[in-house]
Symmetry: none
DNA sequence: AATGAATGAGGTTTCATTCAT
DNA sequence: AATGAATGAAACCTCATTCAT
């Protein structure tokens, strides 16, 4: 729809936020230099303060941009899927795709989690609980249908999120690291591709009934 | 025993390192203040420089302390286990226990990974590859025995590590956060306890052959 | 009448000057923010520069507005009074009335004097000397007539001005302050009223020769 | 007594406070530059923050130093005087002497009054009320004895304080100003000398009942 | 081995002013 | 005549590090 983006952000603000996303994801909040963000955005430092505010406000904006849209999108997509199995797959695929589209997201989130989420907005926790709730519902439904086993949804969620986020952040590190060993063969850098599929397989195997165990 | 520490660190150095571990894990390298570390260690800032050196040296020391012991121990434990399944279980249990014993470890590692691992010592990558290699070996062996399916060891590793690390760091945040929802019922704060067991179950279900899929 | 203003200032300029008077009197030149003045005037900052010029020019305009009219009016009124005693009374009453009509004046003047009068225009000194000269003349005349004692006119002037200015600025502070003590009974906030009369009485008693009053 | 100064300030702190007194009195709080204060004190800017704190804390310290001692001393001296007349004289003389000893005091106080006393510590108002109370008592006592007339102590206080403070700040301005007129003959720059005496004479004449003087 | 004090370099933020429209 | 946006210069403050004792 045309009214998708109600308030169009000015191009300058857009550039500032993009630069900020990059810098914050690279070095974290404390390590980020306002100078550097302004330089990359191609604006004067004062313009940054004029448009957005201080460093904290800028960070909040970045977090909001990255987390807000992602979680919302995730919820929407899950709702559209029909069967529990389909929902789980959608969940993993959407998360992976979101990360692919927002490459700064996993780093920022890892640091945020490490910091105890001090800077995470309420909305993040709200969304996290929504997702956990939804996931819980999916698994419960699957269990009723005799499809899924009894498990702790939070752990499942962290396995998925952890695998995606860590994979996404650690692979570039490994590839730029010292000696790249042979174990790393057959790795596709695109998470939403084969990796998401692999995670899907593993998670579904883990929670689906049938067979032994 | 206490006397198996070859090089006895002075009590002052010990206090400094402990404080540094705490502070670095809480706020990261860039966010850490030398003043604060000295204050928590109960020593004068100059003493800190006298004993250890500058901030970077202090951080290197902390990283070394935290990483060094962990990976080595992990390897040792895995070797002692007999069957592939036993090895996987040991792997998960030992990792969880290590995190429990070094609560600052996951936070520091998350941030390090997010930062591109610039400050991670060679040994970290060496250990990571060792673990991945070992894990790969375990899975290969299991596959030969018809016990495990074909999979990507790195993904399995990240699922395990991700679940443990994120769980360990995020649970305190959630519990101190705003509204604690009902989804979080039946959660035991001790990772090495029930959580490790749940992860064991899930991972083994995921990679073990038999049944459908 | 309104039409005796020779050069009609545009309403915008008027609003800017009014806002500037308020802000400068509240926080002084260095403490004033051009942003704040523009905001209070309800105009864009650039418009302020367009109409008046930079901060210094704005301040000069304010000073001119406040000082210019006051001293002139004071001189005019004194000349109309007949006897020395009458002149002194007129002097005090007019000064008090002027302050009442220009409540920002005493604050701005106090700060200017404290700053060494760097920003005070020539005309201020000219007027001050005129007033001191006139006062001196009044007292000399009164002395010749045997009515007044020999004294230092400047001190008399400062006693009058000091009492009025300090009273006018400090009373609002005291009344908005913490504990308002009983000493402040019977105080009328309007300087030109009872206070001016009390000062008249005291000053005339101080400089009048002989008997009672 | 030896215990007069319990806590001896370090020489560095002393130098910083002295420089701050000068700068703040010259250009006010908003106009003062921390750089300049540090430069004049001959210390590094960081040392200033190390020893005292931020600009506001520094200003508070200066105010405390200047106001705190003055009012206390004033009260002490008045108590020692015997007759009401003697007390009034002491009051004026002590105030003048204090200003002579703290040449930055009048400027700082003028600006503070002009600012509505926002930065003045509680103690200032407490002291002001004490003084007004004492003055009130003196005048009441004098009135009972038939010596003084009925009057408003606050006005008397402001006449005295105003004359001294304005005189002290304005005289240097005038002398450095453009044309020094003949009216300013016979002026002694030392307030505590002839000027205090002149004020004494005038004030006593103003409030004393009956005959000549 | 330990400390209070000092410092230079650099970080964040503010502010008067101007530009393009 | 008026405005939103942009900017350079400078202000305040912090921090890792070192020095003298």
């Amino acid at each position: 729809m045309a009214s998708d983006q109600v308030e169009r952000k000015s191009e300058t603000v857009e550039r500032i936020l993009d630069a900020a996303k990059d810098v914050f994801s690279e070095v974290g909040f404390a390590g980020a230099r306002v100078d550097e963000i302004a330089r990359r955005a191609g604006v004067n430092k004062a313009a940054l303060y004029y448009h957005i505010g201080d460093k904290k406000a800028l960070y909040a904006e970045v977090i909001h941009d990255i987390i807000g849209t992602a979680a919302e999108r995730l919820m929407r997509m899950i709702k559209e899927a029909k069967t529990p199995e389909e929902k789980i797959k959608t969940y993993i695929r959407t998360l992976a795709a979101t990360v692919d589209k927002n490459p700064q997201m996993p780093r920022i989130m890892m640091r945020e989690i490490a910091s105890g989420g001090t800077n995470l907005p309420e909305v993040f926790f709200h969304d996290l609980f929504s997702i956990l709730g939804t996931l819980s519902g999916i698994i419960d439904k699957g269990k009723e249908d005799g499809e899924f086993i009894e498990t702790i949804p939070m752990i499942v969620h962290f396995m998925i999120m952890g695998a995606i986020i860590i994979y996404k952040t650690i692979v570039p590190v490994i590839f730029s690291g010292p000696a790249i060993p042979k174990i790393l063969k057959g790795i596709n850098k695109n998470v939403s591709g084969s990796i998401a599929q692999e995670i899907e397989t593993l998670i579904l195997r883990a929670i689906t009934t049938g067979g032994v165990q």
